[in-house]
């Protein structure tokens, strides 16, 4: 009888390689749980980055406004943390019950790292509680620095936790050579499985993306509080907070494509077919959708900056340029969103004279797309510089020369980008690919050079007038919501791209998905799933925001019993 036990177990395991979930199926259930967990995880990893940076600024410049902002970020974290853990637990249950064979394979290889992960999660949680609840107790002198150190530790634990989880998911994309369904080859240990070919590019990409995402969600929180408030002081605070969040989101977002290039290159180097599937195979149309989303991001960010200039004295001198900048952004957006090859009927192919449109086909190639995206980055950077310079008048002796050099840097970068964009049409593919590096370098050099000159140029600059924080048109706050929703949707889309390139493999070329949902769905189905995840996430975030407001009202009533009795819109001292 004893001999029969493993036999029956084996039979059971064989029968239960996959479970089913009502309605959306096993894959759908795991998809939703994983994506919503990831969105919360990105939020709780991104926000602490700002919290420590803004707290440090507050300590150094001795401005309480930054400290208040940092604490407000952290209060959102406490609520979001529970949601992250709950969705993580749900994902674990779904994986163990719906994909037991695959989960068994992962557990066989990564069990030690899973235990460490759980342990670090505990430590991270306790550090967060200490950080938040110790805020007022450790608020001055050395104790404040100790408190800031807790914020650093919180980031260290969070980043380590993310790196471990990234090891598991990147193993699915790029397992070490020789891995079989039974496990790792002899001589290859846990570290090699974790630190696989795509691990570090994903780590860096996610680290930056978390900062972008955290900034966007914090800005959306500020926008909501701005719209809900009638108190000028409160509106001024949330206007400023929304600006800081949006600034961080957009400035880190500009760096994100470079991490994306690195990840793409590693994917190609690991396996050409996976890379081609991602960029040129059935997923090629995904990048058109991505272009549309990023175009919306650029337009919304620029719109926010342009409307924000309405509350900055001296910004009027830049207003005439914005319509031309809008034109440039829209033209570039259209070029970027043009598909390379058309999927069409035979009659349509015949009418076009091939699978490329005779005119639009020219815009669909990499030369045009790279040129478009780099010009969009330059235009957005120009908007930001206009915003930054609006209420300042340089007083340094070399002000005119400095401004001229900055203008030449912009013009030079644009010329380099356009030159290589056009030249790319006359050289072979392999040469053309290399041109994108020159274009990117020109834009980066411009951003760094212009910023450095600007910082020096504006030292001791005269003010044309203070920024009137809080006097922001309400429509500008809806642009912030568009940014937050778009970033969230984009995260879902990129998650589908990363996971979908494995196609019908749980672990690439090691463990095949033999379920009836092994096929990789088309974008329409993926879009439905992404939208469901985004709606769930944003609904829960809205609830957390509401809780945040509720908690704050409770605190302010206790601290200032008269505050509740004060009429809305009572005079308040400007914060900035």
């Amino acid at each position: 009888m004893i001999d029969f036990l493993p036999v029956i177990q084996a039979a059971g395991e064989g029968a239960a390689a996959y479970g089913d979930f009502p309605g959306v199926g096993g894959r759908g259930a795991v998809w939703i749980a994983a994506e919503v967990h990831l969105m919360f995880a990105a939020f709780v990893l991104g926000v602490p980055m700002f919290a420590v940076i803004t707290e440090l600024i507050g300590i150094v410049v001795k401005d309480e406004r930054y400290d208040k902002l940092s604490k407000e970020f952290t209060r959102l974290l406490v609520f979001a943390y529970s949601a992250t853990a709950l969705w993580g637990g749900l994902l674990l249950f779904f994986l163990t019950t719906l994909y037991p064979r695959f989960w068994g394979h992962l557990a066989e290889i990564f069990s030690l790292s899973m235990w460490i992960y759980a342990g670090l999660f505990f430590i991270e949680s306790f550090t967060l509680y200490l950080y938040y609840y110790g805020w007022d107790r450790w608020s001055v002198g050395r104790a404040k620095w100790g408190h800031w150190g807790l914020g650093i530790l919180l980031n260290v634990w969070g980043t380590t936790v993310m790196f471990i989880a990234n090891g598991w998911l990147t193993y699915m994309m790029s397992p070490p050579e020789g891995t079989t369904v039974q496990g790792l080859p002899e001589g290859v240990g846990l570290w090699a499985a974790l630190a696989n070919a795509t691990w570090m590019p994903i780590n860096i990409h996610r680290l930056i993306a978390n900062a972008v995402f955290g900034g966007a969600i914090v800005a959306a929180y500020a926008a909501y509080r701005f719209l809900s408030s009638t108190d000028p002081k409160e509106r001024a605070h949330y206007d400023w907070m929304g600006y800081v969040g949006t600034f961080i989101a957009i400035s880190t977002f500009i760096v994100l494509p470079f991490a994306g290039y690195w990840l793409g290159r590693e994917i190609y180097e690991y396996n050409q077919q996976m890379g081609i599937t991602m960029m040129g195979g059935f997923m090629s149309w995904l990048w058109i959708v991505q272009a549309i989303l990023i175009g919306v991001l650029f337009l919304a960010a620029n719109y926010y900056l342009w409307t924000g200039m309405g509350r900055i004295p001296g910004a009027e001198r830049f207003q005439p340029y914005t319509k031309w900048m809008l034109l440039v952004l829209v033209v570039c957006w259209i070029a970027w969103g043009t598909p390379n090859t058309m999927i069409a009927s035979r009659a349509e192919f015949a009418a076009m004279g091939g699978n490329r449109h005779p005119f639009l086909g020219v815009l669909g190639v990499m030369s045009a797309k790279n040129t478009a995206v780099n010009i969009m980055i330059l235009t957005t950077f120009l908007s930001f510089m206009m915003y930054r310079r609006a209420n300042k008048r340089p007083t340094v002796t070399w002000a005119k020369t400095g401004s001229l050099v900055q203008t030449l840097m912009f013009a030079g970068a644009a010329i380099v980008v356009l030159f290589y964009g056009v030249y790319g049409y006359f050289v072979p593919t392999i040469v053309r690919i290399g041109f994108s590096v020159y274009q990117v370098l020109a834009v980066l050099a411009c951003i760094i050079g212009v910023t450095v000159i600007d910082v020096l140029l504006l030292r001791g600059a005269e003010s044309r007038g203070e920024i009137r924080w809080g006097e922001m048109p309400e429509r500008s706050q809806y642009a912030i919501f568009v940014l937050a929703v778009t970033f969230t949707w984009l995260m879902g889309l990129m998650g589908f791209a990363r996971s979908g390139i494995r196609q019908h493999w749980h672990v690439w070329e090691v463990m095949r998905d033999t379920s009836d949902q092994a096929f990789t769905p088309a974008l329409g189905y993926a879009a439905n799933m992404i939208s469901v995840c985004v709606v769930i996430f944003l609904a829960l975030v809205a609830f957390i925001f509401w809780l945040g407001g509720l908690a704050e009202r409770g605190i302010s009533k206790k601290a200032h019993p008269m505050a509740a009795a004060m009429p809305a819109g009572a005079p308040a001292a400007p914060e900035a």
């Binding site: 719209l227 599937t277 059935f282 092994a518």
Partner: protein, 267 residues
């Protein structure tokens, strides 16, 4: 306040709806799982060619590069005035016939690199089984040439690339642990004997393999492996649904046939 909430909600729903609609109106391409080829009824060039066409334009992923004229040579249309691939494959390398050239190009793509292109193609045997590789060869031959691939080519796993063929079979099997066609080893590797008794020993979770050839025909054995829940043997109703339904995907055609023949002979 409710007005603000409503406006915020409308902006959110509008943006999400816009992206969903955009993603739904563009061409919908789905990545299917490569189909396995059933050799049990005797493969013909027509069957291979049809299967190869499906793989070529679908799960094989060939069209991601071949046909755009930029990443890889066109195969279904003229390339450099040499005609379609079926017309030119026999002339590409001195002393190498068409089907060998095509098979080698699939399992060792760097061996015959066409001028003007970079070696970006991966070894196709890592993704496709030996059967599937030969099916693609047959399809490519049919593009302007004669199909010379036969059942004998498909059956000989060591034809052009022993390692590649073995790897491909293993890969196609997913849960299969080797490319063996030894029925005894296959019954062990696939845990068949964990439920079915053989030579008088083993658990009574499924019907015994002893004498199965006298109870069922070869076709019935094959059907009960591929679709085990279609018919449940008398006396084993309580274990209905226990047997995995994935052997059709896990086993290569040769492996399936090896098991079927082995069991059919156990009278």
């Amino acid at each position: 306040m409710w007005k603000t909430n409503l406006k915020v909600m409308m902006v959110g729903v509008g943006v999400i709806g816009f992206y969903t609609v955009v993603a739904r109106i563009i061409p919908q391409l789905q990545s299917d799982v490569p189909e396995s080829i059933d050799l049990s009824s005797g493969v013909t060039p027509e069957v291979l060619t049809a299967a190869g066409e499906t793989l070529y334009s679908g799960a094989g992923g060939c069209t991601a590069c071949h046909g755009l004229g930029t990443r890889a040579p066109n195969l279904l249309t003229d390339h450099a005035g040499e005609g379609t691939i079926g017309q030119r494959c026999g002339e590409r390398e001195p002393g190498v016939d068409c089907k060998t050239y095509l098979h080698n190009s699939l399992v060792d793509p760097g061996s015959y690199l066409v001028d003007g292109f970079t070696p970006i193609m991966p070894d196709a045997s890592r993704q496709l089984s030996n059967d599937q590789l030969w099916a693609i060869v047959a399809f490519l031959q049919s593009q302007g040439g004669d199909v010379t691939v036969t059942a004998a080519d498909v059956g000989s796993g060591e034809t052009a690339s022993g390692a590649g063929a073995a790897g491909g079979a293993g890969a196609a099997g997913g849960g299969t642990f080797s490319a063996t066609t030894d029925p005894g080893q296959l019954l062990t590797e696939n845990a068949c004997i964990a439920c079915h008794a053989i030579d008088g020993a083993g658990p009574p979770i499924g019907p015994s393999f002893d004498g199965v050839g006298s109870r069922l025909s070869a076709a019935e054995i094959r059907a009960s492996i591929l679709d085990p829940n279609a018919t449940v043997s008398e006396g084993f109703e309580q274990f209905a649904g226990t047997m995995p339904t994935t052997f059709g995907q896990q086993l290569s055609a040769q492996q399936l046939e090896a098991i079927v023949q082995f069991l059919a002979e156990r009278r």
